[in-house]
Symmetry: C2
Subunit: 374 residues, 2 copies
């Protein structure tokens, strides 16, 4: 069922246009993957998300495991039916969240801002997995490679991700090495659990190794030898865009070329522009939807702040020529007003615009790759 | 342009089926009027509101005067164009809000819960009008019968309301009488200001007199003699449903029968069931939309609480047979989950349902009146 085809290769870069086939339809690549943590893009119902044409949605196993519980989703007939989504879904393993509990915000760590903050609600980390306390009911939950895959089978996403360890950014080489080795063992266990009953799901490995190029290469080699369906790049990708670019430039060519790859947690416009030419196929990020809720509206020229005084009486759309429901029906002045008045409708209308912007941006990038302009 | 026709009269009550014609189309009566204070039903864009079939939307002049300002709305070409609403709009005078500032929450006062709380941000109340301080920029704003009408002309709603004084519930007879007399003078000034340039707008009087039946009758007499296009019933309507019912039973027959009437701020289901037979044509209330945001979903059998444990794995719709977008696409279990996860989408989906419920409820009431079942 799961299949990746490459339609065009750029003559000037490693960028490629492809098509991932899943049980719930096609994902054109390169593409942007919006984050719907709890089974919804914040502020949008899934009928609207389908209409926008978002081909892949990222849901978080950790959140869904605790609320509503994978048993409920399974009883509903899987995540697609539960949330009424017709197009493909990818779930993560829950690793990112439980290690955020353990080390403080992983996002801070990845960006080298944070210091280790103690154990949070994590009770135990050992070779088996991670034992933590549910923030919902205080019960103890054990997340292991096997239980993460079982949860992701119950959710039934089209693409799933093996359980991995997220080491903090500030870590010495020997600890990074042991973390990498454990991650590899956990990913192998995840893969084995998955292969017992693939159910038409694809599983993407997660390449680790932080910003140590030797370990990244080792991770690529180890995982490329295993029958994963695709390759995600995770862990600390560097403290700035230069570090990230250098790492990916070295890493991507070491992954199986005929398989799709994914960059975890990155999706801002400058990164997309810089990284699509390196051959990345899909990118997930909560940036465009979170930005929308803060009144940051994406435009060709870099974006505008809805609440800026000059838009008070600007009765044109956010961007001339934009085909989104917001731009077709409402003025920037009205959006400005809704944000000023702190109306929920503001968040919805801005999210519709930013998500449409991303879908359209990626469509144009695919066109440009086919013409070898990227 | 503005015209009211009565299509059916019930044989068993004063209930009637009618049709209010406005520049922006028809309002079938009796009908429910949803509140979109800032020019939006909270959580819904106006395209969706149109699709639900809500024929009249209530916007608040006080709020729109301060944000975005009537100058902005006028520059946009009026409120309909500014908020992209195709169907009729009614605005109030701002009186309710400025007297809430003066006396504490008018809602509390009307329900006889509150005590007088001092002057709030109101700086002066005299025969001219009310001077208050804007919560947005601290500037002084003078609201008078004339300035309220001027603001409502700039907004351009289909139905507007004269500036009135909202006396607190706890008030002695002589103070209620002077308040009533001032309100009558203010309403007459409002009407005169309106008639200078009607612009196809209709103006509804507001009947006052609290729960003093003699003063209510006096108010009906005074206002019925003036060329208003319709009659709203406002002020303290009683501290319980019995008081309200008794007052309306006495009051409604004293209003011009051939003109539409409106009950301000009441729209819960038991009140609709009790008051439509008394001949009320339209009701506005924020109840169904506010209830939705609190997870109270309206049903034939009185409503349910979305977060109740039993709905965790109830995969049917909120109500079988409901034609709303929420019920057609999403299960109650999913709504339960979205409320538990505090997702914005929950508020939108619940509001779509409750508003559709109200539209449908009123359609059925009109049918029942035509059959003299109400």
């Amino acid at each position: 069922m799961f299949r990746f085809e490459i339609l065009h290769r750029s003559k000037i870069s490693r960028a490629r246009v492809g098509r991932i086939h899943t049980r719930h339809g096609v994902i054109d690549t390169p593409n942007f993957v919006a984050v719907g943590t709890n089974g919804t893009i914040k502020g949008l119902d899934n009928e609207t998300v389908d209409a926008i044409g978002l081909q892949l949605m990222f849901c978080n196993t950790y959140h869904l495991l605790l609320q509503p519980g994978t048993d409920v989703v399974q009883k509903a007939g899987g995540l697609h039916r539960f949330i009424n989504r017709k197009m493909p879904i990818i779930t993560d393993s829950g690793g990112f969240q439980v290690f955020s509990l353990a080390y403080g915000s992983v996002a801070d760590e990845l960006k080298s801002r944070g210091a280790k903050k103690g154990e949070g609600h994590v009770l135990k980390i050992n070779e088996e997995g991670v034992l933590f306390r549910s923030y919902r009911d205080g019960s103890k939950v054990l997340l292991t490679p096997e239980s993460s895959i079982t949860a992701q089978k119950a959710l039934g996403a089209d693409i799933i991700i093996p359980f991995d360890e997220l080491p903090p950014y500030h870590i010495d080489e020997s600890r990074l090495r042991s973390s990498l080795e454990r991650t590899h063992r956990w990913e192998k266990r995840s893969l084995e659990e998955h292969l017992k009953s693939p159910q038409g799901q694809a599983i993407y490995a997660v390449v680790h190794g932080g910003i140590d190029s030797e370990m990244r290469r080792q991770s690529c080699r180890f995982l490329a030898d295993l029958p994963f369906d695709g390759y995600a790049i995770g862990g600390s990708v560097g403290k700035n865009k230069e570090e990230m670019g250098a790492m990916l430039k070295d890493c991507v060519p070491r992954l199986p070329e005929e398989k799709p790859n994914h960059l975890l947690g990155i999706g801002d416009i400058p990164s997309l522009d810089a990284l699509v030419p390196l051959g990345i196929d899909t990118f997930d990020s909560s940036y465009p939807t979170r930005a929308a809720r803060h009144g940051l509206l994406m435009t060709q020229s870099g974006g505008i702040k809805a609440e800026k005084g000059e838009f008070k009486d600007f009765f044109g759309p956010i961007e001339e020529g934009c085909s989104c429901l917001t731009c077709k029906n409402f003025s920037l002045a009205y959006l400005h007003h809704l944000f000023k008045a702190r109306e929920l409708t503001a968040y919805t209308l801005a999210t519709v615009h930013n998500l449409t912007f991303m879908v359209e941006k990626m469509r144009k990038m695919r066109e440009a790759i086919a013409l070898s302009q990227i």
